[in-house]
């Protein structure tokens, strides 16, 4: 599981894949943003309209087949952007896989690798949650935080491929860290959805609110859809993250001599979990269902981000093997 031999070539491929993923995702963000900014208010799909005397190309009756309607420019740009998003996800996966192959260990042994994995799971979760074409505009709001995280990870937290310290040499490393980062990645999507829900149901989305921002807000999917995305991603991530914490506790019992010791990371995970539990309770409490619940979800999002950065990089605890400084 641990060896001091590092394949430099594979490690370099991993770094190249990371840089490529960043570039591709930035271009994807730009294209999707162009679509979001240029699309008009939703109209009935034009391809459904058939001119008088014409027939569809698959029609059995004879008639004039109108040339296929070209999709509007904005939509084509958006679809290109989405294709690039999928390419970016594949490149990020390549970056992670090459890291693992270069070091012959699970590729999540330091903060750089952990954040890459978290972003990857966030992107995959979004690909599932936003698979419908009408949700495409939401990708902008997923890519923004993901790119910020990736920039921080690549610029400040980068660690060269290396074996991990003895405390991390356990079969719990692949289990605990991957489960936690899947949970964190999905919570990221939930948090963004709740933030957008709050914006969408604010005064900004009134049909006659003036300004470019209000126009932009009105192009988002309706508040109910956003709320549903937030809820469904949260109920997926909540048990996953809970299992991650429990696996961490089992590991801690073998590595540090106790299953729970209020280490800063454990404490903030506890806080985040309690906040998300409050969110689920709020969802089934009269008077808390919509806005207050969404706010609680946003607080949980903040706790997750805090857990990701502050606890590993600023405080000193048992989880401080960031591989930095």
């Amino acid at each position: 599981m641990n060896t001091s031999h590092i394949d430099i070539g594979l490690a370099r491929y991993s770094d190249w894949a990371f840089t490529s993923a960043m570039i591709v995702l930035v271009i994807a963000l730009l294209l999707l943003a162009v679509e979001l900014a240029s699309s008009r208010a939703r109209t009935p799909a034009e391809s459904e309209l058939v001119s008088a005397g014409g027939v569809r190309s698959d029609s059995a009756t004879p008639g004039v087949v109108a040339p296929a309607q070209r999709r509007p420019l904005g939509e084509r740009v958006g679809r290109a952007g989405l294709a690039l998003v999928y390419l970016g996800i594949a490149l990020l996966l390549a970056c992670i896989v090459f890291r693992g192959a270069a070091t012959l260990r699970p590729p999540w042994g330091n903060m750089y690798e952990f954040i890459n994995l978290t972003c990857f799971s966030g992107l995959v979760a979004s690909a599932v949650a936003l698979r419908r074409p009408q949700h495409r505009s939401l990708w902008v709001f997923v890519l923004l935080p993901v790119l910020i995280l990736l920039t921080v990870s690549g610029r400040w937290l980068y660690a060269t491929a290396a074996p991990v310290m003895p405390a991390l040499q356990s079969y719990w490393l692949p289990i605990h860290v991957s489960v936690v980062s899947i949970g964190s990645g999905v919570f990221l999507v939930a948090g963004m959805a709740s933030i957008l829900f709050l914006i969408r149901s604010s005064r900004l989305s009134d049909p006659d609110a003036p300004g470019a921002l209000a126009r932009l807000v009105r192009r988002l999917p309706d508040a109910q859809t956003l709320d549903r995305i937030a809820y469904r991603t949260t109920i997926f991530a909540f048990p996953v993250f809970g299992f991650g914490v429990i696996f961490g506790a089992i590991w801690a019992e073998g590595a540090w001599g106790r299953y729970w010791g209020w280490d800063p990371k454990e404490t903030v995970s506890f806080i985040a979990w309690v906040v998300y539990a409050a969110y689920l309770h709020a969802r089934s409490t009269a008077g808390w269902r919509d806005y207050k619940a969404a706010w609680i979800n946003v607080v949980g999002f903040a706790a997750m981000i805090f857990n990701l950065f502050f606890v590993n990089l600023v405080t000193v605890g048992l989880h401080s093997y960031a591989g930095v400084g």
Binding site: P166, R228, G242, I246, W262, I271
Partner: protein, 540 residues
């Protein structure tokens, strides 16, 4: 929640005087108590308490905690002379045992029990209850479909009820109208209850573990020496135990450490720590049989009800002092690793002169040798300032101050293992006589002919012995909790009604289907469509 209030206690039987006043007071108190109980066990209160619990834990992550790092707390107190003591009084450095944190989680537990008990009974009642009768107007329900089918109402009703496998259902018929009520998703509440009961069980198991468990740390020199036996708290350098542990019934485990090996990359990053140990537990203690074990990080020794962990390591330098008459004393003492990356360590050694060197006890006490300084496993000198370049022992060196006088060994006052008692130095009872940098094998000569030689160093390991009888139950409850949680999130509660009435055309019936998602609406639309297609045998 019922809103009927009980009749006033004094409504029926008029009483007089003091007795009446008392009974009224009692009634008021009872009403007040009942209201408080209702408020405490309401969902809103539970929510507020959950949020409070999260808020209350925040200082535990931001401020240094005494249970984790007492030195950090002292440092914080020294840095913040105004804020520090205030926080201290608020128990902000012991958040998780503070009165306010305890208050919140006790209230939460009470609220939880108060909420769970009625819900459990209600769930049990629901399990036995039949699905409710159909509402008069099914088209008012959130989901509704209708069609006309050929056939007999009774027959169709039975057929449709049979289609609803997995649903709890009941068919009611009256005046040629057949109604099927069906409900599913009872497991959701079951999972929900399991989750919360397991949570209570988990808390109880944690509390039991805290009460009956203990853990102790001891630094053992890794040279095959005597090691330690964990039969008494005195065997440990530090010992933390639950309230019921008085130190008399510790699980006996004897450990001696034969060697310790650490592997490092050139960068100084450690890649492995291993210690070969021998241990005795249980019957072996009587027969004096030692068993070998390879103790590693992540691979604790689990034996005889306790667990032994390799928790840390450092170096114990050896010094030999040759007194003026030629007698020697050699001592190896653990130094505290100050820098975890390079293992630059600091510590102190106190050596009593052998009998016969000095004429009497008081003279002998005045000639004890105290050595205090730094140890570097791989020497790096900046001018004459010693630091360590690498954590492995490639080129060991020390930078020491040698003191002569009374080291305070027989004063009866406890001293730090790692520093000489500064009060003795301030009082002039212990005076510095030399300062030097030594490599392994080098020695210095003091003014009275005493020689101090640095012989080298051996590694020591920090072993933690822990005992927690309820640990396995914590795991069991945690897993039960998660199972309940997953069930309660995956299962959805649905309720449908079918009403079959005779149509105007003979031999056909009108079939109406109404549906209600009692929890988690998402996906219910598609689900209802699939259901109606299946029941009607065609698209509606």
């Amino acid at each position: 929640m019922t809103t009927t209030s009980e009749p006033r206690a004094d409504a029926k039987t008029p009483k007089k005087g003091r007795f009446r006043a008392l009974s009224r007071l009692l009634a008021t108190l009872m009403a007040r108590g009942r209201n408080t109980w209702r408020a405490l066990t309401s969902m809103g209160t539970a929510l507020v308490l959950l949020v409070l619990l999260a808020l209350a834990a925040i200082p535990g992550a931001l401020l240094p905690q005494r249970s984790l790092n007492a030195a950090k707390v002292d440092e914080y107190l020294a840095l913040h002379p105004v804020l520090g003591p205030l926080l201290e009084r608020m128990q902000a450095f012991e958040v998780f045992s503070s009165f306010w944190f305890t208050a919140i989680y006790v209230l939460l537990c009470v609220s939880l029990i108060g909420c769970l008990t009625p819900r459990t009974f209600e769930h049990l009642r629901n399990l036995r209850a039949t699905p409710v009768a159909a509402p008069r107007n099914l088209s008012r329900l959130p989901k509704h479909a209708q069609t006309q089918l050929a056939g007999d109402a009774e027959e169709l009703g039975a057929q449709m009820a049979a289609e609803l496998r997995g649903w709890r259902r009941i068919t009611r018929s009256a005046d040629s109208v057949v109604e099927v009520s069906a409900e599913k998703g009872y497991l959701r509440e079951f999972g929900n209850l399991i989750f919360h009961f397991a949570l209570l069980g988990l808390l109880a198991a944690v509390a039991l573990g805290r009460m009956f468990g203990y853990e102790g740390n001891v630094m053992v020199i890794a040279d095959g020496g005597p090691g330690f036996c964990s039969a008494s708290p005195a065997a440990f350098d530090s010992f933390r135990a639950g309230a019921t542990v008085d130190g008399t019934k510790l699980h006996p485990l004897c450990v001696r450490v034969n060697d310790f090996t650490a592997d490092y990359l050139v960068s100084g990053l450690a890649t492995s720590f291993t210690a070969h140990i021998d241990y005795q537990a249980g019957e072996d203690l009587r027969t004096n049989q030692w068993r070998p074990y390879l103790l590693e990080v992540n691979h604790p020794l689990r034996v005889g009800g306790v667990r032994a962990y390799l928790q840390g390591h450092g170096y114990a330098p050896t010094f030999t002092v040759t007194f003026p008459d030629g007698q020697t004393r050699t001592q190896t003492v653990q130094f505290r690793p100050d820098n975890p990356l390079t293992l630059l360590s600091s510590g102190a050694i106190r050596i009593d002169p052998p009998a016969g060197v000095y004429p009497d006890a008081s003279e002998r006490r005045k000639h004890q040798i105290g050595i205090q300084g730094l140890f570097a496993p791989t020497e790096q000198l900046d001018d004459r300032l010693l630091s360590s370049a690498f954590p492995a022992m490639n080129d060991p060196a020390v930078a020491i101050d040698v003191y002569r006088g009374d080291t305070g060994l027989d004063t009866g006052r406890p001293q730090s293992l790692f520093t000489l008692d500064s009060r003795l130095i301030d009082q002039g009872r212990l005076t510095k006589v030399a300062r030097s940098n030594l490599k392994a094998g080098e020695q210095i000569r003091l003014d009275d002919g005493t020689k101090v030689r640095f012989d080298g160093a051996v590694p020591f390991v920090n072993i933690q012995v822990s005992h927690d009888p309820a640990e396995i139950w914590v795991l069991v409850f945690a897993m039960t909790m998660m199972a309940g949680l997953v069930v309660s999130l995956v299962v959805r509660r649905r309720r449908i009604w079918i009403r079959i009435t005779r149509a105007e055309q003979a031999g056909t019936v009108n079939v109406e289907l109404g549906g209600l998602a009692r929890t988690d609406n998402s996906g219910w639309g598609d689900e209802f469509e699939r259901l109606s297609t299946k029941l009607f045998g065609k698209e509606t």
